[in-house]
């Protein structure tokens, strides 16, 4: 036990003495949390909108006015021809083009229906889908207005049936994207810092030769690994704490659940990450190699974590892979506990799996640390 304390003491001293690294460990992640949480939004706003109007009538102008009034559509450009409009789309100056044909009003009055051309830049398929929904909504509401105008003449009987859906968004009534992303980015930062630092740690001692000096001492392998784990665990929890503070103070993210539970789960999770880091560190010969491997897994873990894109949408085989991704569980748990107030029993499945990972990874870390070769 005593031996472990000496290692912990030494690691802390080294961390706090490295003036070049301190800002990278503490300041950079927090700045990123503050800035990038604003960037991570799937909201589609400020849509670059243009139109071609071949029908210069009051109806067509009323329709354009409707788009103008909407908060989603930002830049309204009037293009004299389709050709110029599609040129602008190629240039990336406009993403949605509305095309009002000639005789739009006449057709509408005569045949009670008329067509409208909508062209959407669909390279970002998801955004295009949403843009389409907005366009449709505006046109539907325009239809409704017209219906009201003509309903004086309409027949009362034989009305169509209707089902009204009442949407109700729980835990995040205003659909604030930051509430969703802040915990997610916090997860990333805690994970990246602890993984990279632990991944470089042992291999660094290998490179500078101090590991050999330690290998000739009677220290037990498990003592050594535990001594290495602990400081980074504290570091990870410190970053979590500052991150939570920022989440609360800067972003006003609700914290419904138990803080204690969050810290308890995070501690186990960080052990998993550190186990992976130390395992990589033992397995590699240079820091460069270690970082490269750590980075490789990090990118895959991030993308497969459900952080940015929903896991349910993945094909079955990919969902199976995500079962082995510790980041996925951390993202789930942090969001569940913070935003929904899930309790111990609710997160028990994630907790148990994370615990199993922690045991396996740290077992591997101890096993792969070879004092003799």
């Amino acid at each position: 036990m005593n031996t472990i304390l000496f290692i912990i003491q030494k690691e802390f001293k080294q961390i706090f003495r490295n003036k070049g690294m301190l800002p990278i460990i503490f300041v950079m992640p927090l700045i990123q949390l503050i800035i990038l949480s604003n960037a991570a939004t799937f909201d589609v706003k400020n849509i670059k909108f243009g139109y071609v109007n071949h029908d210069h009538t009051s109806t067509s102008r009323a329709l354009i006015e409707k788009f103008n009034a909407s908060t989603y559509f930002n830049v309204l450009t009037n293009f004299p021809s389709e050709k110029l409009a599609s040129q602008a789309m190629l240039n990336g100056e406009v993403d949605v083009v509305l095309e009002i044909p000639s005789y739009f009003e006449r057709d509408f009055q005569k045949e009670k229906r008329s067509a409208l051309g909508v062209t959407i830049n669909a390279i970002d398929g998801a955004a295009a889908g949403i843009e389409n929904v907005y366009v449709t909504q505006i046109i539907q509401s325009f239809n409704k207005d017209l219906k009201v105008n003509v309903s004086q003449y309409g027949q009362k009987q034989n009305q169509p049936i209707q089902i009204t859906t009442i949407p109700s968004f729980w835990y995040n009534k205003t659909l604030n994207y930051k509430t969703f992303m802040v915990p997610g980015i916090l997860v990333l930062l805690v994970t990246m810092i602890t993984l990279f630092l632990s991944g470089m740690n042992i291999v660094r001692e290998k490179e500078i030769g101090t590991l050999e000096q330690i290998n000739v001492t009677p220290i037990k392998k498990s003592q050594f690994i535990i001594g290495k784990l602990f400081p980074f665990l504290v570091l990870g929890l410190a970053i979590l704490s500052v991150g939570l503070l920022i989440a609360k103070l800067v972003f006003n993210v609700p914290m419904v659940g138990s803080l204690l539970l969050m810290y308890f789960y995070t501690s186990i999770y960080i052990l998993v990450v550190l186990g992976i880091g130390l395992f990589i560190s033992n397995y590699t010969d240079t820091q460069q190699q270690a970082m490269f491997i750590a980075w490789f897994f990090m990118v895959i873990f991030i993308l497969m974590s459900g952080l940015f894109t929903p896991i349910e949408s993945m094909p079955k085989w990919a969902q199976t892979i995500t079962d082995f991704n510790p980041i996925k569980y951390f993202v789930e748990v942090l969001r569940m506990v913070m935003l929904k107030g899930s309790g111990f029993v609710d997160i028990l499945p994630q907790l148990l799996k994370t615990l199993v990972f922690a045991i396996i990874m740290n077992g591997l870390a101890v096993w792969s640390y070879k004092k003799t070769n």
């Binding site: 005593n2 031996t3 290692i7 080294q14 000096q213 330690i214 000739v216 001492t217 009677p218 003799t372």
Partner: protein, 242 residues
């Protein structure tokens, strides 16, 4: 094991693939002796030493250090030996005191004992002024001395020194050997590799390794007689040239 033999080596061999770095060496070291382990660069000295201190497994052969087998009881050996590597291996970003404390702690010394020891060591080396300076800022000669003291912190029975005086000036080398004598005088067995032949003269007995084999082993005096040489340098050149 004979009581006064703290290192006994028999047919110790290490292969790396096809290459035999250490080829069936056999020798023993007596308690309290300063044993010089000589050889040219690449002769296999460091590899042999790494097997004796339990961080490298022998391919074949036997070795017994401080009463324990290197194959099966490496961790027991580690409690009884000190080691100073040829590459400086203290933490540059810790102070002299912190390095001593850390290694003392790893060897399981109590805080009180560490405090006593570090005060004593710092006094002996005359390092009071730099005790709280980062090791990285000290000149190489000082670092080596600190390294040596750290390897003795747990009062080991045997201390292994791998080219301890590489790259330092003659005066510091002299001082370093005084430290070695002092340790030997206090009953520590010293196992030292070097390629400075003048240093070989300070040893009680020396072995000379050529291409993984021990080609000569005796007191410096007898070796000089045997090879009809002026000094150890001459002995070495005669051996190395075959």
């Amino acid at each position: 094991m004979e009581k006064n033999k703290v290192i006994q080596v028999e047919g110790l061999t290490k292969n790396f693939g096809d290459f035999t770095a250490v080829n069936a060496i056999t020798f023993d070291v007596k308690k309290g002796e300063i044993f010089g382990f000589l050889g040219a660069n690449g002769a296999g000295k460091t590899t042999a030493m790494k097997m004796l201190i339990g961080i490298s497994n022998p391919s074949s052969g036997k070795a017994n250090v401080a009463g324990f087998d290197v194959q099966t009881e490496a961790e027991e050996i580690k409690k009884n030996i000190g080691y100073m590597s040829q590459k400086f291996a203290l933490y540059d970003d810790l102070t002299v005191k912190e390095n001593i404390t850390f290694f003392g702690g790893i060897y399981g010394l109590s805080r009180k004992k560490i405090k006593e020891k570090s005060t004593l060591l710092i006094e002996e080396l005359g390092l009071e002024k730099v005790a709280n300076s980062l090791v990285g800022s000290l000149p190489l000669g000082w670092k080596q001395k600190i390294s040596f003291s750290v390897s003795l912190i747990h009062d080991p029975k045997i201390v292994f020194l791998d080219e301890p005086t590489g790259g330092v000036d003659p005066i510091t080398r002299r001082q370093f050997w005084e430290l070695i004598y002092k340790a030997a005088h206090q009953g520590t067995t010293v196992f030292v590799t070097t390629h400075y032949m003048d240093e070989a003269e300070y040893c009680d007995r020396v072995s000379i390794m050529v291409n993984g084999k021990i080609e000569a082993l005796d007191t410096p005096k007898k070796l000089k007689e045997q090879f009809n040489a002026e000094d150890m340098n001459d002995v070495f050149l005669k051996l190395a040239r075959g």
